[in-house]
Amino acid sequence: MTESDDSFADVKAQQPVLPRPFLGRLLHPLMENRRTLAGVLSWIGLGIVVAFIVIAVLAPILAPYPVEGPSAIVAPKLQPPSLTHLMGTDESGQDVFSRVLWGAQTSLEVMAIGVVLALAIGFPVGLYSGYSGGAVDRIILLIMDSIYAFPGLLLALLVAVMLGKGVFNIGIAITVIYIPLYYRVTRNQTLSIREETYVEAARGLGARPWTIMWSYIAYNVLVTIPVIFALSAADAILTAAGLSFLGLGIQWPTPDWGLDLSIANTFGDIGNGVWWTSFFPGLMIILLTVGLSFLGEGLNDLVNPLLKKERA
C-alpha cells in the first residue's frame, strides 16, 4: 500500500471483511503490499524458494555430470572452478556444480518430511490442548516447553544417532524439534479464537467439542501457520545441514550440501587453500534459507494484525 492510500484506511476498516479461501488470504496481502519493504522481501523470498523447487525437480536435466555411481567421477580431484567445471571438483573427482544442484533435492525432501510431520502432530495436539484447557493443557504445555528449551540440534542429533542415516530418518529426527513450535502457535491461537462470539454461539447451539474444534477453530488457526511454516522450514534446512556436517545425516554418495561441507572439513580442504568444495554448497544453504526467511518474515509483517496496528 502506498502512502496516499492511507487516507482511505478508515473507510476500508468499516467495510465488512469477507472470509477468503486459504490461498486468497495469503496472496491478497502479498498482492496489495507489493510496493512496501515487507512485500518486496516476501516476493523475493517466494521467488528464491520457487527457483530452488525448480532446480530440485529439474536436477537430472540441469546437472552436467552424474553424481552417483562409478561414472560420477569425471575429472581429476580438487580442480579449481573452470568453464568445464563451474564450481570445480571435489575430493573424489566429482563435479561440485552437479552435486550442488542435486543437493537441492535432498535438502527440500528432508525439510518437507520434517516440517510436514511436525505440523501433522503439533497442530492437532495444540488444538486439543488449547480448546480443552485445564490440567491436561498445563501438562502438555510443560512438556512441550521443556523440549523447546533444549537445543534443537542436540535433540535431533540424539534421535539421528538412534535412527541412523538417510533422508527419511533425518526428516523424522528434525520433526522432534518443530513439534513444540507448531504446538505452541496452534495452542495460543486456539485460546484466543475459543472466546470468539461465533464459537460461543456454536457451543450455545449444542455443537460437540470435536465439531467446534475442527469446523470452527481449525481453519482460523491454520491461516496463521504459513509464517511459522516458512521460518521453521528455513531452520529445518540449517539443522539438517548441521546433522550432515556432524556426520549423522545423509550417507555418501547421496548429494547433500551439509555432507559435502563435512567432507571438505574432514579432508582439511580450507587449510590447503581449497575453498570451492565448501563455499558453493554453503552458498546454496544460505540462498535457500534466506529465501524462506524473507518469505516468512515478510508474510509475518503483512499478515500479523498486531504488527500492523503498531505500524499505524
Binding site: L142, P151, L157, L158, M162, G282, I286
Partner: protein, 343 residues
C-alpha cells in the same frame, strides 16, 4: 513465608518449577536413547557384533532389565553424578563425568567469548537500526539480522578460516593452543584465565588468538537474534509515554535513546537470553567441530563416531543441566530487573 512478589519468593518458585523441567528433559533423553526402535547396543554395533558380545554389553549397561528399573537406575545415576565408565577406544575405562569435566572449560571459554561478540555487535546494530527507523541504515541492519542468522555456522567458520587464517595468516586455523609452547598450568581449565593467573602474558596472547575466529563465527551468527530483538523493542519503547515526556522536557535525543528507551528495551532482550543460550550450545557443537576445538561438543561428536554410549548419554545430560540452570539464572535476572514478572 516471604512476601508475595519479593525476590526471594520469586526465586524459590522458579527453583521449584525448574525440577519438573529437568525431569522432563531427562525423561526425553531416556526415551530417545532406550525406547526408540531397537536398542543402543544394536544401533551402535549395527548388527555386526556376535550375539554373545551384544548380550554381554547389554547386561553390563543394565539394558536387559525391565524399563522401569532402567529408568530408576538412570535417574539415580544422574543425581549422584555417576554416569558410568566410557566404552570407547579413546577414553575406555575412564569415568564419564571426569572426561566431561576436562572438556567443559573449553566450551565455557568459547561460549562466553561468543556471547560477548554477539551482544556487542547485535546490540549496536539493533540500536542503529532502531533509531534510524525505515531509513537505509535500518534496512541494512534488518537485512543483516535476517541473513546472518541463517548462515550455517560451519560454513561461516570455514570461510573465516580461509580468509583470516589461510590467506592472511592473522590467526591460527584451528585448535585451542599452539603446539610449540606449553599451555598454562590447569587451575580453572580456561586457558585465558589460567595464563593470567600464572602471569604468563605470552600464553594469554596465544589463547586469545586461538579464541578469536571461533568466537567471531559463533558470535556473529548469534548477533542476528539480538539485532532483531533490540530493534523491535527500541521501536516499542520509543513510542512510550515516558519517552514522549522526556522529549517534551527538551532532553537531547542521544540521552533519550540511551537513558530512557534503550534501558527499557533491554528487559525483553534478557527474557530471550535463555533461548539464545540454547542456540549458543547447539552452535558450539558445530563451531567446535569446525575449529577442532576440544570442548564438550567435539567430545559428543567424537563419542558418537566411536559409538561410546555412556559418554553420549553423559554429555547430553550435562547439557540438559546447563540449559536448566541457565534458564533459571535468566529468569532470576529478569525478576531482579523487572519487578512486574515476580507476580
Amino acid at each position: 513465608m516471604p512476601r508475595r512478589g519479593s525476590l526471594v519468593a520469586y526465586g524459590v518458585t522458579r527453583l521449584v518449577m525448574a525440577f519438573p523441567m529437568l525431569l522432563i528433559l531427562l525423561t526425553v533423553v531416556f526415551v530417545v536413547l532406550r525406547i526408540i526402535p531397537g536398542d543402543p547396543i544394536y544401533a551402535l554395533y549395527g548388527g555386526r557384533a556376535k550375539p554373545s558380545v551384544v548380550m554381554a554389553q547389554r547386561h553390563k549397561l543394565g539394558l536387559d532389565q525391565p524399563l522401569y528399573l532402567q529408568f530408576a537406575n538412570y535417574i539415580a545415576q544422574v543425581f549422584t553424578g555417576n554416569f558410568g565408565t566410557s566404552l570407547g577406544p579413546i577414553f575406555g575405562g575412564q569415568n564419564v563425568m571426569d572426561v566431561i569435566m576436562q572438556r567443559l572449560p573449553a566450551t565455557v571459554e568459547l561460549a562466553v567469548g561468543s556471547m560477548l561478540v554477539a551482544t556487542i555487535i547485535g546490540i549496536s546494530v539493533g540500536i542503529l537500526s532502531g533509531i534510524n527507523r525505515d531509513r537505509i541504515v535500518d534496512v541494512v541492519g534488518r537485512l543483516y539480522g535476517t541473513i546472518i542468522f541463517v548462515i550455517p555456522i560451519f560454513w561461516l567458520g570455514l570461510m573465516l578460516q580461509f580468509v583470516f587464517a589461510v590467506d592472511l595468516k592473522w590467526f591460527p586455523v584451528n585448535s585451542r593452543f599452539d603446539v610449540s609452547i606449553p599451555p598454562p598450568a590447569t587451575i580453572t581449565g580456561l586457558y585465558t584465565i589460567d595464563s593470567l593467573l600464572k602471569g604468563r602474558l605470552d600464553a594469554f596472547a596465544v589463547a586469545v588468538r586461538h579464541l578469536f575466529l571461533p568466537c567471531l563465527t559463533l558470535g556473529l551468527v548469534l548477533s542476528g537474534f539480538f539485532t532483531k530483538t533490540v530493534r523491535a523493542n527500541l521501536l516499542r519503547t520509543a513510542g512510550a509515554d515516558y519517552v514522549e515526556a522526556a522529549r517534551a522536557r527538551g532532553i537531547r535525543r542521544r540521552a533519550i535513546v540511551m537513558r530512557y528507551a534503550f534501558k527499557n528495551a533491554l528487559i525483553p532482550v534478557i527474557t530471550v537470553l535463555g533461548l539464545e543460550f540454547a542456540i549458543l550450545f547447539a552452535g558450539a557443537v558445530l563451531t567446535e567441530t569446525t575449529f577442532n576445538w576440544n570442548g564438550m561438543g567435539l567430545l559428543l561428536v567424537n563419542s558418537i563416531e566411536v559409538q561410546d554410549y555412556p559418554l553420549i548419554q553423559g554429555t547430553i545430560i550435562v547439557y540438559s543441566f546447563i540449559i536448566v540452570i541457565i534458564s533459571l539464572m535468566v529468569d532470576f535476572l529478569n525478576g531482579l530487573i523487572d519487578p512486574r514478572v515476580r507476580y
